[in-house]
Amino acid sequence: MTRAIEAEQVGKLYAGKGGEVGLHDLSLQAEQGQVLALLGPNGAGKTTAVRGLATLLSFDRGTARVAGYDLGREAQRVRERIGLVGQYAAVDEQLTAVQNLRFLGRLRGLGRAASAARAEVLIEQFGLIAAANRAVSGYSGGMRRRLDLAASLIVTPQVLFVDEPTTGLDPAARRDLWEALRELVRQGTTILLTTQYLEEADELADKIVLLARGKVVAEGTSDDLKAMVGPPIVQIRFAAADDADTALPALARVDARARLDSSGSMVILPATAPEALARSVDALTVAGLAAIEVTLRKPTLDEVFLTLTGDGPATEEAA
């Protein structure tokens, strides 16, 4: 079976301040049913990549196939098989959920009865029954996103592009949306997700491509990426900053790289040696200090990001 997404060195560059911005050579592969995340800050080229793969703009280099069809030559075939969830609720604000879904169903080629039936199913599936006949302009952010996702599923897509789906959502709405995406994946849809949230990529993606300034910085599973930046971390939290100050010299004898974190009441040190955790606890006991919490954890994707890109999230405008 052909891959769901296969991009070979696609890119699109725009003139921007201080040189060209956009997307340099991006190569991607996703198998049917996988979730691939493009992770990066604003200006990394994520949206350019998604808009190109969803046929909204044409790449000026490279070739790509989506759902088995060539983006350039068979764009209409691609469009029959994809769905797009953008950064907005891409529906008519003045219409109700039912009207929007029926309208979009008709436009996708469903008959009058079929589009009405499909609208009903989706409204129930996405918990919009109570608001089904109210204009979208009065919906909450979470409801809009659910309707937007429902609208993308009128014809179940083989490949769904999801561009920063949870930006601006509260945690509960975010969990709901994640669950809806997982359900789609269980049914075999391939998802290409862009996000600025490391947690989101970690939660959903089988494979993460880390983008910065239009270039791929790293790719792999979330564990692969974390492994790239080194050992797990021992994290020791104290009740007060004074305690942490007192403990630091003792912990520095376990590993010279031990340091206070930004809160001042936590010491973190890399667990290069397997016994680092046990030795840290011993050191605290010897020094007669009590910690509130001692944890051994992998680096967060935030830390991965900082290590691999060499800087914090950039602040340029999204391309």
């Binding site: 604000e93 219409l95 008709r106 179940t156 897509p157 049914q187």
Partner: protein
């Protein structure tokens, strides 16, 4: 959450062709009018408010050319102004579709992209027809008595719709390039001087020479003068070539504006923005 059949590579459902898709998109706008009937009615009736204002407030004070009554003189021009006022709703709805992602969704559909623009155009022309009908009914009630045959009436309507059609492309061009709906709200303010700097309300001969020429060159003046000719009202004595050849100018201007702005709007649409 309920489950549906697994995704397969089964052949996709055929999407509607150009005209069917355009009509579906136009109908979507028409359905939305019902949801915002107050706003739509205000838009449709606005030219009537302006006419009332002129009839009541300035009607006694303004000179009218020839032996026309003030109503007979004013109404043909107000039809042209009604078309101009439609520019605002086209621009704002085009900006809403472009900036709130609806255009992106529709552009990712397996339909002919021209349907998206044609659907907008169809809905806006229908909206303008509603406004014109209300305006005509109001004018007749106010004593407007056009002297016109069937052919003349049809030609007058064609000229009005041609002007509206040309203005559509300007509205779509501006709207599709907008960063937000609010950023193009200035279009409301721009339409006013364009309406007043014409031969609709005031005799261009009373303006400074350069301004008078500008007012006669205004496409709104061309359509207004042509309509007066067709509907049996007298126009001001003209100052320039543009004033002499009103019917030709009323056909020429929409053609020129369409020739310039339709390709620009189409290009902007294909690019998905500026």
């Amino acid at each position: 959450m309920t489950t549906t059949a697994p995704v397969t590579t089964a052949p996709a459902i055929a999407a509607p062709r150009l005209l069917a898709a355009s009509w579906i998109i136009a109908r979507r706008s028409i359905s939305s009018w019902r949801q915002q009937l107050g706003a739509m009615a205000t838009g449709w009736l606005f030219p009537i408010f302006v006419t009332l204002l002129f009839l009541g407030l300035f009607g006694g004070a303004l000179d009218v050319p020839g032996d026309s009554t003030y109503v007979d003189f004013l109404i043909p021009g107000m039809f042209a102004v009604t078309m101009l006022f439609g520019l605002e709703s086209t621009t704002l709805s085009a900006a809403a579709d472009a900036t709130r992602g609806l255009n992106d969704r529709l552009r990712s559909y397996p339909i002919n992209g021209a349907a998206i623009v044609l659907g907008r155009a169809t809905a806006d022309l229908i909206s303008s027809l509603i406004s014109l009908t209300l305006m005509a009914a109001f004018a007749l009630a106010m004593g407007w008595r056009p002297v016109v045959g069937v052919a003349g009436a049809i030609l007058a309507l064609m000229l009005l719709l041609a002007l509206r059609f040309a203005l559509l492309w300007i509205g779509i061009f501006v709207g599709y390039g907008a960063r937000s709906v609010e950023s193009v709200a200035y279009i409301q303010i721009v339409t006013w001087p364009i309406a007043f700097l014409s031969s609709v309300f005031v005799n261009p001969a009373t303006m400074p020479d350069w301004l008078g020429t500008l007012a006669e060159l205004n496409p709104i003046s061309a359509t207004a003068t042509a309509l007066r000719d067709l509907l049996g009202a007298t126009s001001w004595p003209t100052q320039s070539f543009a004033g002499d050849q009103a019917v030709a100018m009323a056909a020429f201007w929409p053609l020129l504006l369409t020739a310039v702005y339709l390709p620009l709007a189409a290009r902007r649409f294909r690019k998905g923005g500026k």
